[in-house]
């Protein structure tokens, strides 16, 4: 914990020091892992450990969640596609054999790993958390060092509960001021990515700080840290504060009683020292951030909704002009056209980025009493979020608007379960990646906040949500 006589430390320094088992001469450090989440896609890693004949070292710190391939409709009748069913069955077999707890399809707590972890209190401040999924950065919202890893690393963690790491560089993004009504974490993240580029934070751990970040709920912070990887950062962090402690108290896997108070004191001591230095610093003003949409095929190709599709002919850097021209061509757009003139075919509200209760409330606030002019569906981030939304009557708002209300999973964010767009179809989506083919072969994705997707659903075009909130209370 903080000791003023020493060199000032960042939050990340403290996380690093707490988990360093040994450091080799070349700087490689063996890091202890506190939580490891596995999902259907982890089958390569389980195959690797089976090949080595090694068991899972710490089943007590390993948790399985069925999310990537699970159906979002007609669950009771089972999974029709044999390949997809095989993926879920493989996860059941692997976790059963290794005595790893599984939040499976029948579990009332099932959902997307990055929603369920915090919801269950498995995600705690100060922990190291890994998962074979790049959006593991999400969990940093609670002050955990959380990052996505590949199958070889998953296998290494399964067998040893450790990973070799080199200390990454640090970057602080300070966001001053207050957000405009209806503008929030998604708009901030996309603004940041557009500013520094999709590779702008590679090699760095990003700590988000400042008045506007502190003002975000845990849900908002989870969205912000989730999108860290889209700026290239493997990990994003927000220092634990009173909001964090209040969120965690009483969660099923969080400590309870005196142990919670002891832990909370420790967690509140993790924050970066006031005089700590970072390798890079960036300052943004929240009041200048407008609702943002992506127009291209990388999250860095994002602009305020009031803008227009860039014209490659006016861009001096030939590489950038070529990149933009290719994106405009794939997306079927015209240079210079207003973003609000882009018509959409479908909407999707879901994913580990934006399917928590607050996200559903924000979308419902815009949609209430209106009809969607395009089809689409809403997949809550977890089965518990789904239930809570139903208790609040949000499901009726979506259904009455003409949208489908379905079960929880990764769904149309990644399309592994068969929830995809048809070739050439265009979506307004609350997800995290507008990559070519991400939502199915030939699919075209525009990323934006839940409220912005709701506005797009009503108008059938990309639309500024702010007029829809006029005279209403946001959320």
């Amino acid at each position: 914990m903080s000791n003023r006589s020493e060199t000032p430390k960042t939050l990340f320094d403290r996380l690093w020091d707490t988990h360093a088992i040994v450091t080799r001469e070349d700087g490689e450090t063996l890091i202890a892992i506190d939580r490891h989440f596995v999902h259907e896609g982890s089958h390569h890693a389980f195959a690797k450990i089976a090949e080595k004949g090694r068991p899972v070292a710490r089943p007590d710190l390993t948790f399985g969640i069925a999310d990537h391939y699970v159906p979002t409709r007609n669950r009771a009748s089972g999974i029709a596609d044999p390949t997809i069913r095989g993926m879920v069955d493989k996860l059941i077999a692997n976790t059963t054999r290794e005595r790893v707890h599984l939040f499976g399809l029948e579990d009332r707590r099932q959902g997307i790993v990055h929603v369920v972890g915090p919801e269950q209190g498995l995600t705690l401040p100060g922990l190291t958390i890994v998962c074979g999924d790049s959006h593991t950065s999400t969990h940093g919202a609670l002050g955990a060092w959380a990052f996505g890893i590949g199958a070889s690393e998953v296998a290494h963690v399964l067998m040893t509960q450790t990973l070799w790491q080199r200390k990454p560089k640090t970057m602080r993004v300070r966001v001053d001021g207050a957000f405009q009504p209806g503008v929030g974490a998604k708009d901030l993240a996309l603004t940041l990515i557009a500013r520094i580029g999709a590779d702008g934070a590679q090699g760095h751990v990003v700590e988000y700080a400042g008045e506007a970040v502190r003002s975000l709920s845990i849900e908002g912070r989870l969205t912000l840290c989730n999108l860290s990887i889209e700026s290239g950062a493997r990990c994003g962090l927000v220092a634990p504060d009173g909001t964090t402690i209040a969120y965690l108290r009483g969660r099923p896997y969080a400590p309870s009683g005196a142990l919670f108070d002891e832990a909370a004191e420790h967690w509140l001591g993790l924050a970066s020292d006031a005089d700590a230095t970072f390798d890079r610093e960036l300052v943004l003003d929240a009041s200048e951030i407008a609702p943002v949409v992506t127009w291209g095929t990388s999250p860095e190709e994002a602009l305020p909704i009031t803008g227009s599709v860039p014209d490659p002919a006016t861009i001096s850097d030939p590489a950038r002009a070529a990149q933009y021209a290719a994106s405009i061509d794939y997306m079927g757009l015209r240079p210079g056209m207003a973003l609000s003139d882009i018509t959409i075919d479908r909407v999707f509200i879901g994913s580990c980025t934006n399917a928590r209760i607050e996200d559903l409330r924000a979308a419902a606030a815009v949609l209430a009493g209106s009809k969607a002019s395009v089809p689409g569906f809403v997949s809550p981030g977890s089965s518990l979020v789904k239930r809570q939304a139903e208790e609040e009557g949000l499901d009726r708002i979506f259904i009455e608007a003409g949208l489908e209300w379905v079960d929880s999973g990764c769904s149309m964010c990644v399309g592994m379960n068969g929830d995809i767009l048809a070739p050439g179809e265009r979506s307004a989506s609350t997800t995290n990646r507008n990559f070519k083919g991400r939502q199915g072969p030939g699919s075209r994705t525009h990323l934006m906040s839940p409220a912005m997707v709701a506005a797009a659903a009503i108008t059938g075009k990309l639309a500024d949500m702010r007029p829809f909130l006029a005279g209403r209370t946001a959320q």
Binding site: A32, K52, G150, Q161, W164
Partner: protein
């Protein structure tokens, strides 16, 4: 793992930025077992038309670059997801090295864990190599000296020194970790006392 020292091969130019992991291996192919091979799926939408025929204008389908073991692309190669299958697709296709100005962090780590060299060069050098290879596709990579040679042109590349040693020696992290078993056990005992709340016993 096979050590990586030198490579004399064909280099395939791919003058595109932001080649993400969804392009390298579309999600729908990832349920396959590794032993079935992932090479056919590499850059699937770019290589094949909707009817399955190869797109003649895509560099990987150009006979001039047949048998290429080196791919040269523009910035932010391998950005996106943690899917190691992106590297499986490259490796199973035959690539042993990717040259680009920047790489997704997770992709780069996955590459090294599969013996594939992520060699970093400047933007200008990447563009120069792409232009050179379009005419003369022969390329030489030397990991010891960190040099790329195409014809009379020599370009230096960078790589994390630890990754360089891993690749040169064909080391696997797991072998290394085994020698620290006692340190891990001692840490766990110590840490359980220092941070008792990390235990998951209370839950469920």
């Amino acid at each position: 793992m096979t050590p990586f020292t030198q490579l004399q091969t064909i280099g395939c130019p791919l003058p595109v930025a932001n080649i993400d992991t969804d392009q390298l291996i579309p999600a729908r192919f990832m349920s396959r077992s590794r032993k079935d091979g992932y090479g056919d799926y590499l850059l699937h939408a770019q290589r094949f038309a909707e009817d399955g025929t190869p797109r003649a204008d895509f560099p990987l389908n150009d006979p001039k670059f047949a048998g290429a073991q080196v791919l040269v692309a523009l910035r932010n190669f391998g950005s996106g997801s943690s899917r190691e299958a992106a590297v499986y697709a490259l490796a199973d296709y035959g690539f042993r090295c990717v040259i680009a100005p920047s790489f997704g962090d997770i992709f780069a780590a996955n590459s090294v864990n599969n013996g594939v060299l992520p060699a970093r060069v400047s933007d200008a050098d990447a563009r120069m190599l792409i232009d050179l290879l379009a005419e003369h596709p022969s390329i030489q990579i030397d990991l010891e000296t960190q040099r790329i040679t195409v014809g009379n042109h020599v370009v230096d590349f960078t790589i994390d020194p630890v990754w360089r040693m891993k690749l040169l020696n064909g080391w696997d992290d797991l072998d290394l970790t085994a020698s620290y078993a006692a340190d891990i056990a001692a840490f766990q005992t110590r840490d359980a006392k220092a941070r008792p709340w990390v235990s998951t016993e209370g839950g469920d």
